[in-house]
């Protein structure tokens, strides 16, 4: 009887495991099937490197380079803002902050992570967008820069909490060894703790950036949504994610536009996949 129970439980768990993999494969196959059809009308090269995206003109122009660049620009900006602040904050929490302040900061970060992205986007729209507009004297504040700042706020909680874990898991003995040689606290952090935690910190950065690449709602609200080649961080842009979200509703099922949006999905999938695998590699290198 006991044996039978074990057997059933084991098989149930197995089925759960297989099911999750099965669904992932199914989704991926569907994405491929729908997306790859677009290459009947446009070559992969022209699709990836074409400079104009006019999906409803006749004939449609399906070049997604402006969208890729839009995503890259916004992501890069977000990374430049969030990495130093996020890692600095993690170092402060893990190494410097006294007990009380540490607790307050940690709950603050958790709170930040809990704000839904639409809400953040909305707040960004009414505060950040006018601010950017006035500071740089622009015709509109809906720019890549506004998107980057907004997304930096979303990447920060991920970066801080994972980097902080990495810092905590540096053996205490490294720190004592350095201090016993007469290193100052700062020298110990800079030359021993940070290098020892570096793979975990890199993983934290990659996961933070992964979150930024996949983000849709907030970017759609504040980057201006112009699918043109971006020429500056102060110009409106359109990201890959925002394109899908904005246009999928209007695209006629089975049209070239429809297939093209799926192909955009594939590109997004591949980028996210690469980022996540890189993060994983760093995390495993640590162990």
């Amino acid at each position: 009887m006991r044996k039978f129970k074990e057997f059933v439980i084991e098989k149930l768990i197995l089925i759960c495991g297989i099911a999750s993999i099965f669904f992932v494969i199914l989704i991926f196959l569907f994405l491929l099937k729908e997306g790859l059809s677009v290459f009947g009308t446009v070559s992969p090269f022209n699709f990836l490197f074409g400079k104009s995206w006019y999906p409803i003109s006749e004939p449609p122009q399906l070049g997604i380079l402006p969208l890729i660049l839009g995503s890259l620009l916004v992501t890069l900006g977000a990374a430049i803002i969030s990495i130093p602040i996020g890692v600095g904050c993690a170092v402060y929490i893990a190494e410097v902050a006294p007990g009380r302040i540490k607790e307050i900061l940690k709950s603050g970060i958790e709170l930040l992570a809990a704000i839904p992205s639409v809400v953040l986007g909305f707040i960004g729209m009414v505060t950040l967008v006018p601010l950017v507009k006035n500071i740089f004297h622009l015709p509109t504040g809906l720019t890549a820069l506004s998107g980057s700042i907004m997304l930096a706020f979303m990447a920060m909680p991920t970066i801080v909490s994972i980097a902080e874990d990495a810092l905590y898991s540096v053996p205490k003995t490294y720190k004592e060894g350095a201090l016993a040689l007469g290193a100052t606290h700062w020298q110990t952090i800079w030359r021993v703790i940070l290098p020892a935690a570096s793979s975990g910190i890199l993983a934290a950065i990659m996961l933070g950036i992964g979150r930024v690449i996949g983000e849709t709602m907030a970017v759609m609200m504040i980057t201006g949504n112009a699918a043109v080649m971006p020429n500056s961080i102060l110009a409106p842009v359109r990201t890959l994610t925002a394109t899908i979200a904005a246009e999928m509703g209007e695209a006629v099922v089975g049209s070239e536009h429809y297939f093209a949006l799926f192909a955009v999905g594939i590109v997004l999938f591949v980028i996210s996949f690469i980022v996540n695998v890189t993060a994983d590699l760093f995390l495993h290198k640590k162990q």
Partner: protein, 248 residues
Amino acid sequence: MVTFDIKNLNIWFESTQALKEVTMEVLPHEILSVIGPSNSGKTTFLRMLNRMNDLNSNLKMSGEVKFEKEDIMKIDVELLRRKIGMVFALPLPLPLSIFDNVAYGVRMHGLAGKTRMAEKVEEALKQGYLWDEVKDRLTESAFKLSGGQQQRLCISRTLAVEPEVILFDEPCSGLDPISTAKVEDAMVKLKEKYTIVLVTNNVKQAARVGDRTAFFLSGELIELDKTDKIFTAPKDKRTDGYIRGKFG
């Protein structure tokens, strides 16, 4: 001039008292062994001398510790720790190459430029009696060394910053007898240049290398005397009992 002059030292961790009214001296160029059962306060005592106890926020102390006539609490802590090196129970190489482990502290304190660095590292490794074993593999990771070699690397690293005193906390507890003998040899030779305080759980080790031996029990210094005195005619019967293996 005495190296350490310790008067009425008390240390508490919250409610537990780890050291009670310890009064003693450490003399220049001696090996002072500190023995005693587990929890007798040996590590706490040792970590007081280079202020590693400062890292512990729930610790309170009273009394006075003077290093070469100066109150250690008034000496700049980084300078104090450079002058008073420490070797831990488990070898703690940093995740760097053999060369960089030794060069680490030297660079940090700016004790040698690029050109003198190689000499400096060689000298330190020779003093740690490790040079011959590693001279052809200086760029390899320190973790590839055996435990005993890692421990001598940590000794070399400590020596490279030119300390005056070296504190050892059970440096051989993780080592086999041959590695232990090598580390002990190194210590005996080092005392010509340095003052050494050696905390050890191994009574025989204290007898082999110590000039004087201090016996701690439950945070009290029970007896401190010449090593042969302690081992042949201890004054206190608790010392006698410990040496014969009655506690822990």
